[in-house]
């Protein structure tokens, strides 16, 4: 099964072998960049399609169905529509900044793909400071948002941009803190190193891992301004926020940046906490077999479901045992599962208020992130007695989360007394 796993790596190797030795490093860079530049718009287009489909289904609708089978050509027609739309720059706006802002927001989103480990040996640049690179690059987006808001010369835009900057800067702190635990345990900043450290246990199955995973994911959602944290572009309050004054392809670039960043958030959550391209190496196949037995003997279920379910579980167990699933398939499956969760969140929750949003970052995530580092330390120092360490860090986290919730509880509203009405 090695071939299927390494099929892309081998393809690149074959391509490189066509070139003279001296050129190979450059060709290698060109191929990686080319592949990323080619798949990024593709990923974005079909993320919009996925999002529209899933949201529609959650709202009892069909979503796009007209263009192509299941609306599969809808993103392409949208793209063409965006390209032929008139590009309007508001009077009084700064034309240079106005066009620079969406480009500046898209560039870091694509740059993030450079350290995304899509599979075993499938990473464009295995930087030894990959994690630092991730945070450095992703925080550029606050500049571009403010630039866009400022350059549009519109009140809605500038309000949205200010909210956006405040939010992005606030959520960067818990985002980084949640990853500190991972760095502590793995002792590396390299993405590949972190994935390899999860070979026998995904970090999400540890107490500090699940907390860190949730914190990283939610901070990420807030950083890329997606519902329920979409304050900067709150339609009902700010028309479109920082991109109110954008139209045509510039608007599409904003959206492209946003979607690519949400994809990146899902991909990096997968990398850091969900084992990256590792299949669940823990004896999950045992669990599969167990589930197969349970499903097959469950008398409450009708017979066809029982047999199909048992067969599926058995199949899953065999697949896991023999590890036929290539590493990139694992990575993409986990990432798209998280994309589904992202859309699911959007389909479920209303937008938060600004003060709730900031409160969540500063009053809950920040202290919990600090406690999480301590919990990870406890877990690590007690690793000789695994269960004890597990329980101890879980208790620490649960207690502090509970205390934080209690401390942040808003005052219950008192019945109002109207002085002049009586």
């Amino acid at each position: 099964m090695q071939e299927l796993d390494q099929v892309f790596v081998n393809a690149k190797g074959w391509l490189l072998s066509l070139f003279p030795i001296g050129l190979r490093p450059w060709v290698s860079i060109a191929v990686s960049v080319g592949v990323i530049a080619a798949i990024a718009p593709f990923i974005m287009m079909y993320l919009t399609w996925l999002e529209r489909k899933i949201i529609a289904r959650m709202q009892n609708r069909f979503g796009p169905t007209r263009v192509g089978v299941y609306g599969l050509l809808q993103p392409i027609s949208d793209g063409i529509k965006m390209l032929i739309k008139e590009d309007i720059v508001p009077r009084g706006a700064d034309p240079l900044l106005h066009i620079l802002a969406p480009i500046l927001s898209l560039a870091p989103a694509i740059l993030l793909f450079a350290v995304m480990p899509f599979g075993r040996n499938m990473i464009a640049a295995d930087l030894n400071v990959g994690l630092l690179y991730l945070f450095a690059i992703s925080s550029i987006s606050s500049y571009s948002i403010f630039m866009g808001g400022w350059a549009s010369r519109s009140k809605f835009s500038i309000l949205g941009a200010m909210r956006g900057v405040a939010q992005i800067i606030s959520y960067e702190v818990p985002g980084v803190l949640s990853v500190v635990a991972v760095i502590m345990i793995t002792g590396t900043l390299s993405m590949v190193g972190i994935v390899e450290a999860q070979a026998d246990q995904w970090f999400v199955f540890t107490p500090w891992g699940i907390v860190g995973c949730l914190m990283f994911f939610l901070s990420g959602v807030a950083e890329v301004n997606r519902t329920p944290f979409d304050m900067p572009e709150a339609e009902s309050e700010l028309v479109g926020g920082f991109h109110t004054e954008y139209s045509g392809m510039k608007f599409a670039l904003w959206y492209m940046a946003e979607f690519l960043e949400s994809f990146a958030i899902c991909a990096f959550t997968t990398t850091l906490f969900l084992g990256g391209w590792q299949g669940p190496a823990v004896p999950f196949w045992v669990l599969g077999l167990l589930l197969a037995v349970i499903v097959a003997t469950g008398t409450k279920l009708p017979a066809p479901i029982r047999s199909v379910g048992a067969a599926a579980m058995l199949g899953a167990a065999v697949l896991w045992r023999t590890q036929v699933i290539p590493s990139w398939a694992w990575f993409l499956a986990k990432t798209y599962a998280l994309v589904f969760v992202l859309v699911w969140l959007r389909g479920t929750f209303p937008r938060l208020r600004v003060d709730q949003l900031m409160g969540l970052a500063w009053k809950f995530f920040l202290p919990l992130g600090l406690v999480n580092i301590v919990a990870a330390g406890i877990w690590w120092s007690l690793r000789e007695t695994p269960w004890f360490g597990w329980i101890a860090s879980a208790v620490v986290l649960a207690l502090s989360a509970w205390a934080l919730v209690l401390a942040n509880k808003p005052e219950p509203l008192q019945p109002r007394t109207y002085i002049y009405a009586d």
Binding site: I54, R57, M58, Q59, N60, R61, F62, T65, K300, L301, P302, I305, W344, L345, G347, T348, F349, V405
Partner: protein, 185 residues
């Protein structure tokens, strides 16, 4: 517990998501969760919604048997009462001496235009007509590329037989017919 409400909310949306797929409904049924057909969308151009009998859109003129036997006598009450003033009537028709021309014992309009892009479907014209000559139609696929050529309906386009009225709105047509029959006696 903290967060239970959040999870419950997500459960609701996920259930709705599953309910829109046949396999999802099957899964929910297998888990003994009551389901509904989640997809309530009527895919309009392919599937048409069955409208209620009293659904109304734009007015039309009723005639009995032949188009020249129209009920409208060109009294212009509807023209005056129409709130957006979208009815234009020329008439009643006159003969060479300037006396009112009659067809089937009634005066009749020379021109009767309704600008349906202005009409707001209020049904006031129907209510004020003393002769039950104008009624509400239920056709709604009337879009066109030409504002005045296609959106201003003239007499030819507005005239429809009483049979048609009886077909689209049986109840209302029956009361109108009964009223007209009582008048004749």
């Amino acid at each position: 517990m903290i967060g239970i409400g959040v999870l419950r909310g997500m459960g609701v949306t996920f259930k709705t998501f599953l309910e829109t797929y046949p396999w999802g409904r099957g899964l929910l049924r297998a888990l003994r969760i009551p389901t509904t057909n989640g997809l309530v969308t009527v895919e309009y151009p392919d599937v048409k919604q069955q409208h209620h009998e009293r659904f109304r859109y734009f007015p039309f003129l009723v005639y009995d048997q032949t188009p020249d036997n129209l009920r409208c006598v060109a009294c212009k009450i509807c023209e005056q009462e129409c709130p957006p003033a979208c009815i234009h009537i020329i008439g009643p028709a006159k003969d060479e001496q300037g006396r009112p021309a009659k067809a089937h014992g009634r005066t009749y309009p020379v021109e009767f235009d309704i600008d349906i892009s202005v009409c707001m479907s209020c049904r006031i014209c129907v209510d004020v007509c003393p002769f039950d000559a104008i009624e509400m139609d239920n056709q709604y696929e009337l879009s066109g590329f030409d504002r005045f050529g296609q959106m201003v309906f003239n007499k030819d386009k507005l005239l429809k037989p009483n049979d048609y009225f009886q077909r689209i709105k049986p109840t209302e047509a029956a009361t109108v017919d009964a009223r007209l029959a009582a008048k004749k006696k």
